[in-house]
């Protein structure tokens, strides 16, 4: 089942670590957000393939925005 990884808070997308099609394990870093003067990694919560990556570096994400879909 596909898992949507969402932003927990408003943030800038500082670095995109994976690309669509990559295989990821539970706990792998997908992107690194920048918020509250902190670099906050967004982690995969299940193993699978990155089916979609919906953000680019420099984007601003709002709370609840989908960052990636892991399936």
């Amino acid at each position: 089942m596909a898992e949507e990884v969402r932003a927990e808070m408003v943030a800038n997308v500082w670095k995109v670590v994976v690309t669509a099609g990559d295989t990821v394990a539970d706990g792998d870093t997908l992107v690194i957000l920048e918020s509250m003067k902190m670099e906050i990694p967004v982690l995969a919560e299940s193993a699978g393939t990155v089916q979609e990556l919906r953000v680019n570096e420099g984007d601003v994400v709002q709370e609840g925005d989908v960052i990636a879909v892991i399936g």
Binding site: E8, M9, S35, M36, K37, E39, I40, L43
Partner: protein, 474 residues
């Protein structure tokens, strides 16, 4: 003479009876499965008993799922209230095992009156003896609020907690929903905060209840501790987020019992032992929401502080907090009202409470995380930690807004950095916090465990230091 030595034969339930049998469930809770029933009535839908947990006596009751689905009638409720009387008189922890449809319909208002008396007994016992609930089946209506009034709620894999079941929801609102989605591990472990611990099996649920009771009622004595190294758990960049849970677990003698692990995960609340002594650890988790405090995490932390204070469990507070989470959502969520609970909880706590600032403590969140001003027993900091109203770059952007605006785009970053360094020397920095007395001591990371233990020891960890208040489920 203790309750177990009154000459009454100890019952040892045996055989492969129905696993839902309340005696079997109580036996799974107590040492060696040995227990003594407190009441002899049968068919009242509730059984009550006394036994031992890790050597110490404890009272427990269980609803009997085989009798009217565990529904609570007047007699069953009276038995629970009687068990509470025993626990309070003897100062024993009390554990409830729930599998109940709520108040007995057939008894009408009499059963409601009984359930209300159980709630009253639980509230009177709150903060005086530890109360733990284990929900192993559906716990609806009154059976939902029973656990909710207690200190720690543990949910087994078949546990479902809700006020109104799927049928009522469907008939009233037309919404199609099952028991799992209404009140299973996902909603209560992650969204509502009703459940402190989610267990994979019934056996595991009872084992966690034993662990909880042991930590809350057998605090132990503080012995010498061996130091450990934390360097590999901390990122090199001060800006990089990391998971604080391994830090908490390395701080403790062995990995602790994390309560509310998936609810408000930006703050970690863990019971464990340091030098053999029960302690409660609170820690900001930078991995979640950057470690910001928000309305929900402040409430979670406040309840944990008050529970530990009520039972004389000293607190260790690990601080790495960038501030309160800003935004309209938070303000409307009551971050002011709910955040105030944490200030109140720390400021009224009489139990020894030691703060360790690991990286940074900014602004109002600095105050809320057991600062000196709220009465911290001792405040320690790791080298390089920052204590400030806000980060230095953010501060100079406010203080020197005009000067920065006048600078050329090319010159601005360098000016900003220069002003920030100057600001740190003038206004902030660890040295100033130490000279003001809001930080007592800067300690090397690899002295952490011994320094925390020494701070608790000098505060006099004893039965006298215990808050006199209930543990309202904030």
């Amino acid at each position: 003479m203790t309750l177990l030595e009154t000459g009454v034969t100890i019952v040892r339930p045996r055989g492969a009876a129905d696993p839902r049998d309340p005696w079997m469930r109580l036996a799974g809770l107590f040492d060696d499965g040995a227990l003594r029933p407190l009441a002899s009535q049968s068919g009242i839908g509730v059984v009550t008993a006394v036994g031992r947990i890790e050597g110490g006596e404890a009272v427990a009751f269980a609803s009997d799922a085989a009798v009217q689905g565990g529904a609570l009638g007047q007699e069953g409720c009276t038995a629970i209230v009687a068990a509470y009387d025993v626990a309070l008189r003897q100062g024993l922890p009390i554990i409830g095992i729930w599998h109940s449809g709520g108040a007995r319909l057939a008894e009408g208002v009499a059963s409601l009156d009984g359930v209300g008396q159980v709630f009253a007994a639980m509230t009177l016992a709150s903060g005086r003896v530890p109360q733990v609930s284990v929900v192993l089946g559906p716990a609806a209506g009154g059976a939902a609020y029973g656990p909710a009034l207690t200190d720690v709620v543990i949910l087994g894999p078949h546990g479902r907690v809700f006020v109104t079941g799927p049928d009522v929801v469907r008939s009233v609102t037309g919404e199609e929903v099952d028991m799992l989605r209404l009140g299973g591990p996902e909603p209560h472990g992650r969204r509502s905060g009703v459940v402190h611990l989610v267990a994979d099996t019934d056996v595991d649920a009872l084992a966690r209840a034993r662990d909880t009771v042991a930590l809350l009622s057998h605090p132990g004595h503080l012995d010498d501790v061996a130091d450990r190294n934390f360097d590999d758990l901390m990122p090199e960049s001060a800006r990089r987020a990391y998971d604080v849970k391994p830090v908490v677990n390395r701080l403790l003698d062995r990995p602790g019992l994390e309560l509310h692990a998936r609810w408000a995960p930006n703050i970690v609340t863990t019971l464990g032992r340091l030098g053999g002594r029960s302690v409660g650890v609170l820690a900001n988790n930078p991995l979640r929401l950057g470690g910001c405090l928000d309305a929900t995490s402040a409430e979670k932390a406040a309840r944990f502080v008050r529970m530990c204070d009520a039972f004389g469990i000293p607190l260790v507070v690990l601080v790495d907090v960038p501030g309160y989470l800003p935004g309209v959502g938070q303000e409307w969520d009551g971050v002011v009202r709910r955040g105030a609970k944490l200030l109140h909880a720390f400021a009224e706590a009489v139990v020894p409470r030691v703060t360790l600032i690991t990286r940074k403590a900014y602004g109002g969140a600095y105050i809320a995380m057991n600062s000196r001003s709220l009465g911290a027993t001792r405040v320690l900091a790791w080298p390089g930690a920052e204590v400030a109203v806000m980060g230095s770059v953010a501060a100079v952007r406010v203080l020197h807004r005009r000067r920065l605006a006048e600078a050329t785009d090319a010159a601005r970053p360098a000016l900003e950095a220069e002003l920030a360094t100057e600001h740190e020397q003038l206004a902030g920095g660890l040295d100033r916090a130490v000279s003001l007395g809001v930080v007592d001591e800067v300690i090397d990371r690899d002295r952490t465990r011994s320094a925390l233990a020494a701070a608790l020891r000098s505060a006099g960890v004893g039965p006298a230091s215990r808050g006199r208040h209930g543990n309202i489920p904030l």
